[in-house]
C-alpha cells in the first residue's frame, strides 16, 4: 500500500458536482451532450462564476470523499410525483419539499473537524501514515517516537484543512450571497420582499427584467404579449442568444393583477425533481380545467430574464430540487504524466523499502543468533520473544521488520504531495499574474482553472486546435461580393492602379449619407455604392435579399438599431445591406419591414425554410406587391445545383469569382431568388401544412417539400465574408512547430478554405514536400489513400536521412547541435529519432483529411494506419469534422501515442475535445462560456498559447522536475543513513537522528529552499524560451524527470547517505575531545550526521539553484539558520534529550573539518559531472544561459531580442474560408409568432412602426396575425423540433 496508489485511486472516479447546461437552448446540430459548466462544486451559476474567478484550487481529490459522504447524508427524497397547490403553504408543506435555501458548503464550524478529518483519511497516503502512527504506538515495534510521524502528518492535515476551510468559507460566502438575494414573493395577495432562501414551493413570485430566476418556475404571466418571456441561458449553457418561454394563455390573462394572482390556486401535478433540462411534464388544474405543461412554460433557475419587464411564476422546484442543482456532471479528474510516474516511482520506493526491511530482518535474525542472544546478559530480549535461541531471534527479527518499516518510511515522503500541490498552486498564480498574457482589450488575464496540470504544459506534443474563434477572431466582415457576374470589393490603389490589400489607414467608402449606417463598417470599393445609388437593379436585388433572407432579430439599444443574429455571418450580411441602404427595420411573425433607397417596404412572410447543416441553405418566401418570391442563400455548390436557366456567362463569372474568394480565404455564399406562382404556392403550402402536422417521417417529408420548391432559382450573386485571423497566430504556430509540437487543426471548414487558412497561419508552408489530401467516401478509398500516403512517407524519409547525414558532415557544429537538442538536462542518452523531427526544417509532409473520410479513418481497422500517417506529418488538418469527431481524434492520439495532448478551442463544439485532451485550453472569446468553463486553462487570445507553453509550461515542468529530483535525493540521503547504521547497531532499527529531527526534517529544515527553487528558478529568461523554441524539447521527451532521472537522484541520495555516514564514522570513531571527553557517543554522532546532512542538502540546492533572487537567499540561508536555531531551542528550551550534543560537537574543530570534508566530497563530483557536460556537451539551455550572461556583461541592449506581440504582428490581414454558420436560425421563433415585440419607440424607426397596424394594442395584433398564419406556425414548429 503506497501513498502513490492513494492518489491514483481516489483521483479517478472523482465526482464533482457542477452546473449543467444542455442543448436545451441550442438547436445546434447534434451537440446535445450535457455540458458541464463548472468543474467545481458550484451549483448555482452565479456561484460558479464567482468560484471560477478564484484560482481553481482543484482539491477535488480531497473533497471527493466528503462529497460522497455529504451526498449520503441527503438522500434524494423518494418522490414519485410532485403535487403543488399554488399559494397554499399549508398544503405544500405536508410534502416537505426542499425550500430555496442553497447549501453548497460542506462544513459548519462544529462539523468541520470530524468531517474534514474523515475526508482526509480517505486519502490513502494519509491513511498510510496514520497506520504508521499506530505501529509506532506499539511498544516492542516502535523504533521512533510517534511524534516523528504525528508532526508531519499534523502539518499535512492542517495545511489541507486550512485550504478546505478556506474553500468552504468561500462557499459559505457565495451561498450567503445567493440565499440573501431578494425576490418579490406574493404573500397573502401582497408582494413582499423575501430572501431567496425563504422562497418556497408553491409561492408565486415576480421576476423583473435582467434578474436571475430564483427557482424553477411555472410561468404564469408576463409583461409581453401572449405571455411570452425571453431568457438568456448564458450562465447555464454559455449561449448568449435569447430563448423564449410562453405562459399558458389562460394564466397569461392574470397579468400583474396581484389580487388575482394571489388567489391563483391552480393545482400542479408534475414529475419529481430530475436533471433533465429539456423536458418537463406536468399538468395544471385550475378553474376546473386541466392544462398540459411542458418545458416551454418553465423558467429554470440560473436563467436571466431579458427584454421582459416582469413576469410571474409559481415555484415548482426550489433549492436543491431545481434542475440546475440536480445536474451534476462527472468530470474525469485529470492527472499529469508526472503524477502517474510519481505513483509508479512511489510504488517502487515502497518495494525498495520493503526489501530493505526484509534485508534488515534477515540480518537481524542472524545477528541475534550470532551475537544478540549472548548479549542478553546486558540486554534481555523483548518480553514478546520466547526464550529459545532460534525462536527468540526469529521473533525479534520479525518485530524488527516493522520497526524498520517505521524507521525507513521517510523514503516515501509524506510531504511530497503537499509540496507538489503547493508548488503547482504557486505556479498557477504565476500564470494568472502574467501581464504578458493579459488581454488589454477584453480585460482578460490568463487563468489556470485547474491548478494541478502546470508541468504538463511543458510536455505538450500535440495541439488540437479549433479554427473559428481560436485561430480566427470570429468577427465576420462583409468583404467582397459578386453581383450578376460583376466583382466588387477589391481595393484599387489610386496611385499604382493595382489591387492591393487595404490597411488600417486606407480610406474606406463613406456611408454617412445613410442615416442608419454603422461607423464600424468598412468597405473599400466605391463602385458598389455607386451602383446602388444609381439604382442598379441587380445590386438592389442583391441587397434586398440580404436584408430579407435571414433570421436576424432587430433590437433597439440606447436608441440605436442593433441586430441579434445566430451567427456572425448573418450579422455581417444584414449589416452590410443596412449600410448600403437596405435597412432591415423590424419583423413580425408575418412580415418583414425594410427600408430601401426607394422607401419602406413591408414584405409578408409566407414561409421560412430555415437553415440547417444538411440543407446548407435557407430560404424565405415573401409576398410583396402581389408577387410571391422565394429568396435563397446558401453554400455555393448547393445553390448552383438548384439554379434554373441562368445565363452561362454570368454563372461562369460568378463561379470564377467564388473561386477567387475561396482562394483568398473568404467565406462564400451564393444568393438566388425565384418568383412563385400564387396557385402553386397555395397548393404547396397545403402540402406543407400536411407534412408539418404528420406524425411519421415529418422531417423527410418537409425536406422533400423544401427540395421541391427551392429549384429553378435565379442567380443574383455571391457574397464573400472575411474571417479575421487573430493577432500573432502565424508566428505562434511557427514557434510552436519549431518547439517540436505537432499542431492539428480540426475545423468545420470545407477543404479548400481549410487548406487556405492552413497556409495563412503558417501551419502549411511552401517548404512542405507534399500535402496529402484524403477525401475518400468509402473505407476502401480511405484505406487506399492512406496507404499511398504511407508509401510516400516512407520513401523520401530515407532520402531525408541521407540528406541530413550529408549536412552533418558539412556543418561542423551540427552533431553537437543535435546532441544539444536531445541532451537537455543531465540526460545525454540519445533518444531514438523519430523520422518527423528531422522533417521540421524542410520538406515535411502535411495531411488534410475530410470529415467523411475521417469516419472511416477512425474505425478500428484503419485508425492505426491513419495515426501512423498523421503522426509522421508535420501538420494535420481535419476539415468538416463534427464535435464528436474532434473528440475522437484527440482520443485516438491519446490512446495510441504516449503523448500529452492539448486541445484549444472557444466554442461549444470544442467542449468535448477540450475535455478529452490531457489539457484543455479555452479561449475566452465570443462564443460564450462553455469552452472556458470546461477548460483547464483559459486565455484571451490564441497567441498567448505560445507563452503558456513555451514559458510557463516549460518553467513549470523544469521546476517541478528539479524539485522532484531534489526531493527524492534529499529523502534518500536522509533515510538511508539509518540503513548504514543498522550494520553497526545489530539491525535493531536504532535511528541515527534525534526523533525530533526526523519529524521536522522535511517540514522545516529542508522544505523552504526547494520550494523557493520550485517557484522561482529559471534556467533561461522568458524571452529566450520564446526566441529558442527548441528549449521546449526536453519536456517533450520527458528528459528532466523520468525513471532514469529518478534512479540517478536516488542513487545519488544513496551515495550521499553513505558518505554522510562514513565521514563522521571515520572522524568520530573512538574520538575524544581536546579535554579528554569521549565524543563518540550516539547522540553526538547523530547530531553531527544530521547537521552535516542539512548542510549538504542545502549546498546541493545551492548548486541546483540557477536563479538567485533575494527570496532564494532568504530561504537557503534562513533554512540553515533555522536549523541551528530550532535545534538549540528544542534542546535547551523544550528539553530535548539530545541537549548539549550538537553544542559539544560544534565546539571542537573536528566537526568543522568533518563537515567541510563531507560537503567537498559530495559536491566536487557533482561539480565535475556537470561541468563536464556543460563544457563538452552543452545543452541549448546551457548555451543560452552563457549567452545571456555574456550579453548582460556587455550591457548590450536586450530589447532587440524581445519579441513583443505587437512587433510580431504583420500588417496584412489574413483570410480564411468558410461556408455557413453552424446553427439553425431563429426561423421557428419568428414564424411561430412569438417574437412579437412592442414597437420600438425609436424616432428614426417611427415610420416603420406606423406601418404596423394597431401598434398600441400589440396583443390583439399578434393574436390576429397568429391566427392568420396557422400553417406557418406549425410549419416552423415542426421544423424547429428537429
Amino acid at each position: 500500500m503506497a501513498a502513490g496508489t492513494a492518489a491514483a485511486d481516489d483521483g479517478d472516479d472523482m465526482e464533482t458536482s457542477g452546473s449543467p447546461a444542455s442543448g436545451q437552448s441550442s438547436p445546434a446540430e447534434g451537440n446535445g451532450e450535457t455540458i458541464e459548466m463548472c468543474r467545481r462544486g458550484s451549483e448555482d451559476p452565479e456561484v460558479a462564476e464567482v468560484l471560477t474567478r478564484q484560482p481553481a484550487t482543484a482539491k477535488e481529490r480531497l473533497l471527493a470523499g466528503a462529497r460522497r459522504v455529504f451526498r449520503l447524508k441527503e438522500p434524494p427524497p423518494p418522490e414519485t410525483e410532485r403535487r403543488i397547490r399554488a399559494n397554499d403553504l399549508e398544503y405544500n408543506s405536508q410534502f416537505q419539499y426542499a425550500n430555496n435555501f442553497i447549501k453548497t458548503y460542506k462544513y459548519t464550524v462544529l462539523t468541520f473537524w470530524p468531517l474534514n478529518l474523515f475526508e482526509q483519511f480517505q486519502r490513502l497516503a494519509n491513511f498510510y501514515f496514520a497506520c504508521l502512527l499506530v505501529l509506532q504506538l506499539i511498544g516492542p515495534i516502535s523504533s521512533l517516537t510517534p511524534i516523528t510521524t504525528l508532526l508531519p502528518l499534523l502539518g499535512v492535515l492542517s495545511v489541507t484543512a486550512a485550504k478546505d476551510a478556506y474553500d468552504d468559507y468561500q462557499r459559505h460566502r457565495n451561498d450567503r450571497q445567493v440565499n440573501n438575494r431578494v425576490s418579490l414573493v406574493l404573500r397573502h395577495g401582497k408582494l413582499t420582499r423575501e430572501q431567496w432562501s425563504n422562497v418556497r414551493v408553491g409561492d408565486v413570485i415576480r421576476m423583473e427584467n435582467d434578474q436571475f430566476v430564483a427557482a424553477d418556475l411555472l410561468l404564469l404571466s408576463t409583461s409581453e404579449p401572449n405571455g411570452l418571456s425571453y431568457i438568456e441561458t448564458a450562465e447555464l449553457d454559455g449561449e448568449t442568444n435569447l430563448k423564449c418561454r410562453q405562459a399558458l394563455p389562460a394564466t397569461a390573462e392574470l397579468g400583474q393583477d396581484e389580487t388575482l394572482l394571489g388567489k391563483f390556486d391552480g393545482k400542479i401535478n408534475c414529475e419529481p425533481p430530475n436533471n433533465n433540462l429539456n423536458k418537463f411534464e406536468g399538468t395544471l388544474e385550475w378553474n376546473g380545467k386541466k392544462f398540459a405543461l411542458d418545458n416551454d412554460k418553465i423558467l429554470l433557475r440560473g436563467c436571466v430574464l431579458r427584454n421582459t419587464q416582469w413576469c410571474y411564476g409559481v415555484v415548482i422546484f426550489a433549492g436543491r430540487d431545481t434542475k440546475l442543482m440536480q445536474n451534476s456532471g462527472k468530470t474525469k479528474f485529470k492527472r499529469t504524466s508526472i503524477d502517474r510516474l510519481l505513483n509508479v516511482i512511489i510504488l517502487g520506493i515502497v518495494g525498495f523499502l520493503l526489501l530493505m526491511c526484509l534485508f534488515c530482518t534477515i540480518a537481524c535474525g542472524i545477528w541475534e543468533t550470532v551475537t544478540g542472544q549472548y548479549f542478553r546478559v546486558y540486554l534481555p530480549w523483548d518480553a514478546l520473544a520466547p526464550e529459545g535461541a532460534t525462536a527468540g531471534a526469529t521473533v525479534t527479527a520479525l518485530l524488527v521488520f516493522f520497526s524498520y518499516a517505521i524507521v525507513l518510511n521517510t523514503v516515501v515522503p509524506i510531504s511530497l504531495y503537499v509540496s507538489v500541490e503547493v508548488i503547482r498552486l504557486m505556479q498557477s498564480f504565476l500564470i494568472n499574474w502574467d501581464l504578458a498574457m493579459y488581454h488589454e482589450k477584453s480585460d482578460t488575464p490568463a487563468k489556470a482553472r485547474t491548478t494541478t496540470l502546470n508541468e504538463e504544459l511543458g510536455q505538450v506534443q500535440y495541439i488540437f486546435s479549433d479554427k473559428t474563434g481560436t485561430l480566427t477572431q470570429n468577427i465576420m466582415v462583409f468583404n467582397k461580393c459578386s453581383i450578376a457576374g460583376k466583382n466588387y470589393g477589391d481595393f484599387i490603389d489610386p496611385v499604382i492602379g493595382e489591387v492591393i490589400e487595404p490597411t488600417e489607414d486606407t480610406q474606406a467608402v463613406d456611408f454617412s449619407a445613410n442615416d442608419m449606417y454603422e461607423p464600424s463598417f468598412r468597405f473599400f470599393d466605391q463602385t458598389l455604392l455607386d451602383a446602388v445609388n444609381s439604382g442598379d437593379e441587380d445590386s438592389h436585388m442583391f441587397f434586398r435579399l440580404l436584408s430579407l433572407c435571414h433570421t436576424v432579430m432587430p433590437e433597439e439599444k440606447d436608441g440605436k438599431l442593433k441586430y441579434q443574429a445566430q451567427s456572425p455571418d448573418e450579422d455581417a450580411l444584414v449589416s452590410a445591406a443596412r449600410n448600403f441602404g437596405f435597412v432591415f427595420l423590424s419583423r413580425t411573425p408575418s412580415s418583414i419591414t425594410i427600408r430601401t433607397p426607394r422607401g419602406e417596404e413591408e414584405h409578408e412572410v409566407l414561409c421560412i425554410l430555415d437553415f440547417n447543416n444538411v440543407r446548407k441553405r435557407m430560404s424565405v418566401i415573401l409576398r410583396h406587391g402581389g408577387k410571391i418570391r422565394l429568396y435563397c442563400k446558401g453554400a455555393d455548390n448547393i445553390v448552383f445545383e438548384r439554379l434554373g436557366n441562368v445565363e452561362p456567362e454570368t454563372k461562369a463569372r460568378t463561379e470564377e469569382h467564388l473561386q477567387k474568394f475561396a482562394g483568398e480565404g473568404l467565406r462564400t455564399l451564393v444568393l438566388a431568388y425565384k418568383e412563385l406562382d400564387d396557385a402553386y404556392f397555395e397548393e404547396w403550402k397545403k402540402r406543407h401544412h400536411e407534412a408539418s402536422v404528420s406524425l411519421v417521417e415529418r422531417d423527410e417529408k418537409l425536406d422533400a417539400l423544401f427540395e421541391e420548391i427551392e429549384k429553378d432559382l435565379v442567380l443574383i450573386g455571391a457574397t464573400a465574408i472575411e474571417d479575421k485571423l487573430q493577432d500573432g497566430v502565424p508566428q505562434t504556430i511557427a514557434n510552436l512547430i519549431l518547439a517540436g509540437i505537432r499542431l492539428w487543426v480540426l475545423t468545420g471548414d470545407k477543404q479548400e478554405t481549410a487548406i487556405n487558412i492552413g497556409y495563412s497561419c503558417q501551419l502549411l508552408t511552401d517548404d512542405l514536400q507534399d500535402v496529402f489530401v484524403v477525401e475518400g467516401h468509402t473505407m476502401q478509398d480511405v484505406e487506399a489513400e492512406l496507404n499511398r500516403c504511407m508509401d510516400d512517407l516512407s520513401r523520401p524519409s530515407a532520402d531525408a536521412k541521407a540528406h541530413q547525414h550529408k549536412q552533418s558532415l558539412s556543418v561542423v557544429t551540427f552533431s553537437s547541435v543535435r546532441s544539444a537538442a536531445s541532451d537537455e538536462g543531465y540526460g545525454h542518452d540519445t533518444p531514438e529519432e523519430d523520422p518527423t523531427s528531422n522533417a521540421s526544417g524542410s520538406g515535411g509532409f502535411a495531411l488534410v483529411i475530410n470529415g467523411h473520410s475521417l469516419i472511416w479513418a477512425l474505425t478500428s481497422k484503419l485508425e492505426r494506419l491513419f495515426l501512423d500517417v498523421a503522426c509522421q506529418c508535420q501538420a494535420v488538418i481535419c476539415c468538416r469534422v463534427t464535435p464528436l469527431q474532434k473528440a475522437l481524434v484527440v482520443d485516438l492520439v491519446k490512446k495510441h501515442k504516449k503523448a500529452v495532448t492539448l486541445s484549444i478551442g472557444d466554442g461549444a463544439n470544442d467542449v468535448s475535445m477540450i475535455k478529452t485532451a490531457h489539457i484543455g485550453v479555452g479561449i475566452s472569446g465570443q462564443e460564450g462560456l462553455q469552452a472556458v468553463l470546461s477548460s483547464d486553462y483559459s486565455i484571451a487570445q490564441f497567441r498567448y498559447l505560445e507563452r503558456l507553453l513555451l514559458v510557463h509550461g516549460r518553467w513549470s515542468y523544469y521546476r517541478m522536475c528539479k524539485f522532484l529530483r531534489y526531493f527524492f535525493y534529499k529523502n534518500f540521503a536522509f533515510t538511508l543513513c539509518h540503513f548504514w547504521y543498522s550494520f553497526f547497531c545489530g539491525f535493531s532499527a536504532q535511528t541515527v537522528f534525534d526523533p525530533m529531527f526526523i519529524a521536522v526534517y522535511n517540514l522545516f529544515y529542508t522544505s523552504m529552499p526547494v520550494l523557493a527553487l520550485a517557484v522561482f528558478d529559471q534556467d533561461v529568461k522568458e524571452r529566450q524560451s520564446l526566441t529558442y523554441p527548441k528549449l521546449y524539447t526536453p519536456g517533450l521527451r520527458d528528459l528532466f524527470f523520468n525513471k532514469l532521472e529518478f534512479f540517478k537522484s536516488a542513487t545519488y541520495g544513496f551515495v550521499t547517505s553513505l558518505v554522510l555516514f562514513i565521514v563522521p564514522y571515520g572522524t568520530y570513531k573512538d574520538a575524544v575531545s581536546p579535554e579528554g571527553y569521549t565524543i563518540s557517543d550516539h547522540q553526538l554522532f547523530g547530531a553531527v550526521v544530521a547537521t552535516v546532512l542539512v548542510v549538504v542538502v542545502t549546498m546541493q540546492i545551492c548548486l541546483d539553484t540557477t536563479y538567485w533572487t533575494w527570496l532564494n537567499h532568504l530561504c537557503v540561508w534562513g533554512s540553515l539558520f533555522t536549523y541551528i536555531l530550532l535545534q538549540f531551542f528544542y534542546n535547551y528550551v523544550l528539553g530535548g534529550v539530545y541537549v548539549g550534543s550538537l553544542a559539544m560537537a560544534m565546539s571542537e574543530a573536528n566537526f568543522w573539518f568533518c563537515t567541510l570534508l563531507t560537503v567537498i566530497v559530495l559536491m566536487v563530483p557533482v561539480l565535475a559531472w556537470r561541468f563536464y557536460f556543460v563544457d563538452l556537451h552543452p545543452t541549448l539551455a546551457d548555451l543560452v544561459r552563457a549567452k545571456q550572461r555574456e550579453d548582460k556583461a556587455q550591457k548590450r541592449r536586450m530589447d532587440e531580442f524581445q519579441r513583443t506581440p505587437s512587433a510580431r504582428r504583420r500588417g496584412r490581414s489574413v483570410r480564411s474560408g468558410y461556408a455557413f454558420a453552424h446553427q439553425e436560425g431563429f426561423g421557428r421563433l419568428i414564424t411561430s409568432g412569438k417574437m412579437m415585440r412592442r414597437p420600438p419607440p425609436l424616432a428614426s424607426l417611427s415610420m416603420f412602426s406606423l406601418g404596423r397596424s394597431g401598434a398600441s394594442s400589440p396583443r390583439a395584433d399578434t393574436q390576429v396575425t397568429f391566427c392568420a398564419e396557422p400553417s406557418s406556425v406549425s410549419m416552423g414548429g415542426g421544423h424547429g423540433d428537429r
Binding site: 548479549f375 522561482f1016 571515520g1066 573512538d1070 538567485w1108
Partner: protein
C-alpha cells in the same frame, strides 16, 4: 441555542478569514491597480512577473577549474596538519580481557574464567595486573579510558531503556521504557533500565613501577570526566540527602549493581546518585559497538605527573568484575594524551590529502579537456541559428 452558537462561531471565523484575506491581499497586490479601477489587469510587480533581480551563476571553466585547484591546494596542507596533530597524540592501549587473576586461589586462571565459574560470588572481585612499559613519556594531560568491543550500547532496545525524567530527579516517573529493569521487589529501580543496569564496574589503579620494584601510585581523578552539559541538563539527584532514606527512599538498586546509586563513589560524597560522573559517562551511550569511555584523568597537581606521564614501567591493577566474553566482547584500557583536535585519529588527515589530490587531478584533467575539446561559450550558439529558428 446550539445553532446560535454555531452561527456565531461561523461569523467569527469568517471575520478572521476576511481580515486574513485583507492583509494578504495587501501584501500580494500593488495598491495602485486594485483600488482605482476594477480591471482584472494583473499587477506589474516584479515578483508577480517573475522579474525579480537575480544572480544567475553558471558553470564555466573560469569558475570551476580554479575551484578544483583551490580545493586541491588548500586540502593537502590541511590534511598534513591534521595528520601531524593526530600523530602527536600518544596512546597506550592494553587489552586485558583475558588477564590472569593474581589470587593464588584461582590457580592462575583468567579473571574471566573466575567470574564465570559457578562458585564465584560477586562480592569478591577478581584482581589482575596489566604491566606495560611506556617508552616515551606521555606529554601533557593524560587521560585514562576503558574500551569495550562488540558491546552494543547502540542497540535500539538498549538505548531506549532508560528514563529521562527519573535521571532528572523526578521520583514519580513511570519508568515505562525501562522494562524489564523498571522495578525490583515492587520498588522502582534507581536508576532504571538496561543501560544503568549494565554499568561498567571494573576499577583500575595505575601504578608506576620504579626500577627497584617499588610502586608509586599515579593519582587519578574520577571527576570532570562527564560532559559539563550532561551534568548540567540531564542528571539531577532527587531532593534530599543521598542516602537510602533520603533522595532514594523506596528505590531498589539495579540488579547487576553491587552498591546502590548513592554509594557509587564513597570517596566523593557529592559524586553520587544520578550525578555520579561514571554513571553519566556510561549513560551517554556509544555510537558504535566498539567504543571507549573516559574513566579518569591523571591528576596533574601531583608533582611527578605535572606535565607528563614519564617513561617507565607501569602496572594497572584491575579489579575485574565486568564479564564480556560471553558475547564475544573484549575490554581495553587506554592511556592517551590529546591534541588540539582531540585524540589519535589519522582519518581526517588522510581523507583531506586524498580529496586534495583528487581535486588537483580533476583540475588538471578538466583543464586539458577544456582546452582541447571545450566549447567556447556563446560563439557556437550564434553560429547555429539553424536550430533556433530565429
Amino acid at each position: 441555542m446550539k445553532r446560535v452558537f454555531s452561527q456565531q462561531c461561523e461569523e467569527l471565523v469568517i471575520k478572521v478569514v476576511q481580515r486574513f484575506e485583507h492583509s494578504t491581499s495587501a501584501i500580494m497586490s500593488s495598491p495602485v491597480s486594485s483600488e482605482q479601477t476594477k480591471t482584472k489587469r494583473p499587477s506589474s510587480s516584479k515578483f508577480r512577473q517573475q522579474q525579480l533581480p537575480a544572480w544567475q551563476p553558471i558553470l564555466t571553466a573560469g569558475t570551476v577549474l580554479p575551484t578544483f585547484f583551490v580545493i586541491g591546494v588548500a586540502f593537502i596542507p590541511v590534511g598534513i596538519a591534521l595528520l601531524t596533530f593526530s600523530g602527536n597524540v600518544q596512546e597506550v592501549v592494553k587489552e586485558y580481557t583475558q588477564c590472569n587473576s593474581i589470587d593464588p586461589a584461582h590457580n592462575n586462571a583468567t579473571c574471566d574464567e573466575v567470574l564465570s565459574s559457578p562458585n564465584h560470588t560477586a562480592a569478591t572481585p577478581c584482581t589482575c595486573h596489566i604491566n606495560f612499559n611506556v617508552t616515551e613519556s606521555l606529554n601533557g594531560r593524560v587521560y585514562m579510558y576503558y574500551g569495550l568491543t562488540n558491546f552494543y550500547q547502540n542497540h535500539r532496545r538498549y538505548v531506549k531503556s532508560r528514563d529521562v525524567n527519573q535521571l532528572m530527579g523526578q521520583t514519580d516517573s513511570a519508568l515505562s521504557d525501562c522494562s524489564p529493569f523498571a522495578t525490583a521487589d515492587k520498588k522502582p529501580i534507581a536508576p532504571c533500565g538496561a543501560i544503568a543496569n549494565s554499568l561498567f564496574n571494573d576499577t583500575f589503579e595505575l601504578k608506576m613501577l620504579s626500577s627497584a620494584g617499588a610502586e608509586l601510585a599515579v593519582p587519578l581523578v574520577r571527576t570532570g570526566i562527564a560532559w559539563p552539559s550532561d551534568k548540567k541538563y540531564k542528571f539531577e539527584n532527587p531532593p534530599g540527602p543521598l542516602t537510602a532514606d533520603g533522595a532514594f527512599k523506596n528505590t531498589a538498586k539495579p540488579v547487576n549493581w553491587k552498591r546502590a546509586v548513592y554509594e557509587l563513589d564513597p570517596a566523593h560524597p557529592e559524586n553520587n546518585g544520578y550525578e555520579n560522573e561514571d554513571l553519566i559517562v556510561w549513560m551517554r551511550t556509544a555510537a558504535l559497538p566498539t567504543f571507549r569511555k573516559l574513566w579518569a584523568r591523571v591528576n596533574e597537581s601531583a608533582e611527578t605527573f605535572k606535565h607528563s606521564l614519564p617513561a617507565g614501567e607501569y602496572r594497572i591493577v584491575v579489579s575485574y568484575a565486568y564479564p564480556v566474553t560471553s558475547f564475544g566482547g573484549t575490554k581495553r584500557i587506554i592511556l592517551s594524551t590529546t591534541s588540539l583536535l582531540g585524540g589519535k585519529n589519522p582519518f581526517l588527515g588522510v581523507a583531506y590529502i586524498v580529496v586534495g589530490c583528487i581535486c588537483l587531478v580533476l583540475g588538471v584533467a578538466f583543464l586539458i579537456i577544456h582546452v582541447k575539446y571545450g566549447k567556447r561559450g556563446t560563439d557556437t550558439i550564434t553560429n547555429r541559428t539553424d536550430w533556433s529558428g530565429h
